[in-house]
């Protein structure tokens, strides 16, 4: 029961903030509440939200994944080069991308758990390797183009009579969210949280900690693959498509009240964190805050949100244990 209260307690603020932001957007721009623009908002937010779900698995297990941004770039650039406008190549290339994602996630996980390299370093190294390799392969500028079929998930939707078009990305996001929620309620989800909370205790309780963590990295890389497919369709091919996404995803997860260092927070709150970030951008746009100051506002809000969460956490626990500067290990 306490666990449930804790979970809801930790998650509640982000949903409140999300609601507040959506209301604020609706006040500034009443047409936002129409299904079409709400769905367009979901479509924009879907790639980051999916990345946040993947990042959540890694963070709640007590690790970091800094490689997702460069993985997204790699996937999009590789897809463009291999497909090169050839419709029939779409499916094989998508299978290949999934395989590539699996491989990267597996490498991240195995290096972190078996070689005992802190995940911050593992995934930082992976970031350098991936971005270097993809540019080496393409000679600095992405070439080729995506097929129409590849662009469908990121760009189009299905028509529902009497309602309008529902974007595929929104449906994929809902499916990912449902899958993640189910996963976190399964036994595996509980062992994942236990691993992040106290890995030594988890080992003693018989949790295959290394395997659980490796799976988390694989899930994160697969989420990056899905996000890359959506972004490739939505935003097109560029060498900057994944730039900074790792930090945005981590920010989203943390905004959702998930604690860096592992063991606490819910996956749906992490997803809501991504929706909050996207809503924030939408609102700033509407308010005419120049695109440039966007990052300043973003920076202030992230710090404020985490500081607020830290205060709450401090008050809930008694006696108050001042958190040491958390270790990115």
């Amino acid at each position: 029961m306490r666990a449930l209260r804790d979970r809801v307690g930790a998650a509640a603020p982000v949903f409140g903030v999300l609601l507040l932001l959506l209301v604020a957007i609706a006040v500034v721009n009443p047409s936002f509440l129409e299904p079409a623009s709400l769905l367009a908002y979901l479509k924009r937010a879907a790639p980051l939200a999916i990345l946040a779900v993947g990042q959540y698995f890694v963070i709640v297990s007590g690790e970091f994944d800094l490689s997702v941004g460069s993985l997204v770039t790699v996937q999009v650039v590789v897809a463009a080069r291999l497909i090169d406008g050839d419709e029939s190549a779409t499916l094989p290339v998508i299978v290949l991308l999934v395989g590539l994602g699996l491989l990267v996630g597996l490498a991240n996980g195995l290096i972190t758990t078996r070689l005992h390299v802190p995940s911050f370093v593992t995934t930082l190294g992976m970031l350098l390797v991936l971005s270097g390799a993809v540019f080496l392969w393409t000679g600095g500028a992405p070439r080729g183009s995506l097929s129409q079929a590849f662009r469908v998930p990121g760009r189009q939707g299905i028509d529902i009579p009497g309602f309008g078009q529902v974007p595929w990305s929104a449906l994929i996001l809902i499916a990912v969210a449902a899958g993640a929620a189910v996963l976190m309620r399964s036994a595996w989800g509980h062992t994942l949280v236990a691993t992040g909370d106290n890995d030594r205790a988890a080992v003693l309780a018989g949790v295959p900690v290394a395997r659980v963590r490796t799976t988390a990295f694989v899930l994160s890389a697969l989420a990056a693959t899905v996000a890359a497919i959506l972004l490739g369709g939505f935003a097109g091919v560029s060498a900057q498509v994944g730039e900074g996404l790792e930090f945005s995803a981590i920010t989203a997860v943390v905004l959702g009240g998930v604690v860096l260092g592992g063991g606490r927070g819910s996956v749906l709150a992490a997803l809501a964190g991504a929706l909050v970030l996207e809503a924030l951008f939408t609102l700033l746009n509407l308010l005419g805050v120049s695109g440039a100051l966007e990052s300043t506002v973003q920076g202030v809000i992230i710090i404020a949100a985490v500081a607020y969460a830290a205060r709450r956490a401090g008050r809930r626990r008694r006696p108050p244990v001042p958190e040491p500067t958390p270790q990115p290990a």
């Binding site: 970091f64 800094l66 290096i111 758990t113 070689l115 005992h116 390299v117 802190p118 911050f120 370093v121 593992t122 930082l124 190294g125 992976m126 970031l127 350098l128 390797v129 991936l130 971005s131 270097g132 390799a133 540019f135 080496l136 600095g140 890995d199 030594r200 080992v203 003693l204 900690v209 290394a210 930090f247 981590i250 920010t251 943390v254 860096l260 260092g261 695109g291 440039a292 100051l293 966007e294 990052s295 300043t296 506002v297 973003q298 920076g299 202030v300 992230i302 710090i303 985490v306 500081a307 830290a310 205060r311 401090g314 958190e323 040491p324 500067t325 958390p326 270790q327 990115p328 290990a329």
Partner: protein
């Protein structure tokens, strides 16, 4: 208290382990590079080549030394890249080509950097925000300021100040001396002063340090101020080198993650409390030697990143192995 004293006295010595390893690795890589280049008919160990290598390490070296202190204190700083851009602009705009304004400009840069460090430190300690998020957030704030105020290079640096970037004393570039001075000062601070020892104590175990009477908040804040000051010095150097300030000079260099990578490569433990400046300098030099080797072999620039990433992972895996073995020898079972 004795336990702490013990710990503090041991900390620098423990650091000798991985740092020595990095220096040995550096020596081996230099020999290897020399052998490869000589075999291909080049002349590797020329003064020009060595100096070229050294002066290219200046910026990363200075930033990484600051980053070392932040990491030793159990923290880290992701805001340095933006701060470097900001300080290069502050320097160039205040100088505006006037040699008389060099003094005020340098002071302004140092003040601005110290302020950013202070904010980083206070957000982490007083607001209890994770260092990763705190410095990422502060970095975003600076990024927004840069993006809204500048579209490209601005200001101008008088010729007198540009000499910092280009002059030599005898055969040695001033910039290399600058880096060595920063590294030397940081090493003195860490090993010879009380606050320096406190950095190790706080990074090792903040709770133990607090209970032993170490002013933990002040120590973390100080570590961040020093880290930011180093970034500010790097910004000054880049301004002198470019002759102007440039908003993206720090982020284009990737100095945030690269500096952390160099620190880790130098054997400093990311979790804090163990390591030192010497290892970081070796790590920076190691990266520079590799870079230089690839240049000489006319390999693709992007290939460097691939090797760099692999080297970093490999090095840390080796350190982790050694640590595990050391722990096993002390007969402590560490399941993971």
């Amino acid at each position: 208290m004795t336990a702490l004293a013990e710990r503090v006295r041991w900390a620098p010595r423990l650091a000798a382990g991985p740092a020595a390893g990095t220096w040995i690795a550096l020596g081996l890589v230099v020999l290897l590079a020399a052998a490869i280049v000589t075999a291909r008919g080049g002349d590797y160990l020329t003064q020009a080549n060595l100096l070229n290598m050294l002066s290219r390490t200046t910026v990363l070296g200075i930033v990484a030394v600051g980053q070392t202190i932040a990491i030793l204190a159990g923290s880290l700083d992701l805001s340095v890249a933006y701060l470097i851009g900001l300080t290069s602009l502050i320097a160039a705009e205040i100088m505006a080509g006037d040699p008389a304004m060099i003094g005020p400009a340098v002071l302004a840069v140092l003040a601005a950097s110290a302020l950013v460090g202070l904010v980083n430190g206070l957000v982490i300690t007083k607001l209890q925000v994770n260092a990763f998020i705190a410095t990422l957030g502060v970095g975003l704030v600076i990024k927004g300021i840069l993006e809204s105020r500048y579209e490209g290079p601005a200001g101008s640096v008088p010729v007198l100040f540009q000499r910092l970037g280009y002059d030599r004393i005898g055969p040695i570039p001033v910039s290399v001396l600058l880096m060595l001075a920063v590294a030397g000062a940081a090493a003195l601070f860490l090993h010879r002063t009380r606050p320096g020892h406190h950095v190790y104590a706080v990074g090792g175990n903040v709770e133990v340090a607090r209970l032993s009477g170490v002013p933990t908040t002040r120590t973390t804040v100080l570590a961040h101020v020093i880290c930011s000051l180093c970034a500010g010095v790097a910004g000054l150097y880049l301004a002198s080198r470019l002759g102007a300030g440039a908003p993206y000079v720090g982020t284009d260099g990737g100095y945030d993650l690269e500096s952390i990578a160099a620190v880790v490569l130098g054997g400093t433990v990311l979790a804090g409390g163990r390591g030192g400046v010497s290892g970081t300098v070796a790590g920076v030099l190691l990266l520079a030697v590799l870079d230089n080797l690839f240049d000489q072999l006319v390999l693709d620039a992007f290939f460097k990143d691939v090797v760099r990433g692999a080297v970093i992972i490999l090095a840390v895996a080796v350190y982790a192995r050694r640590q595990l073995r050391a722990r096993a020898q002390r007969a402590v079972r560490v399941p993971r």
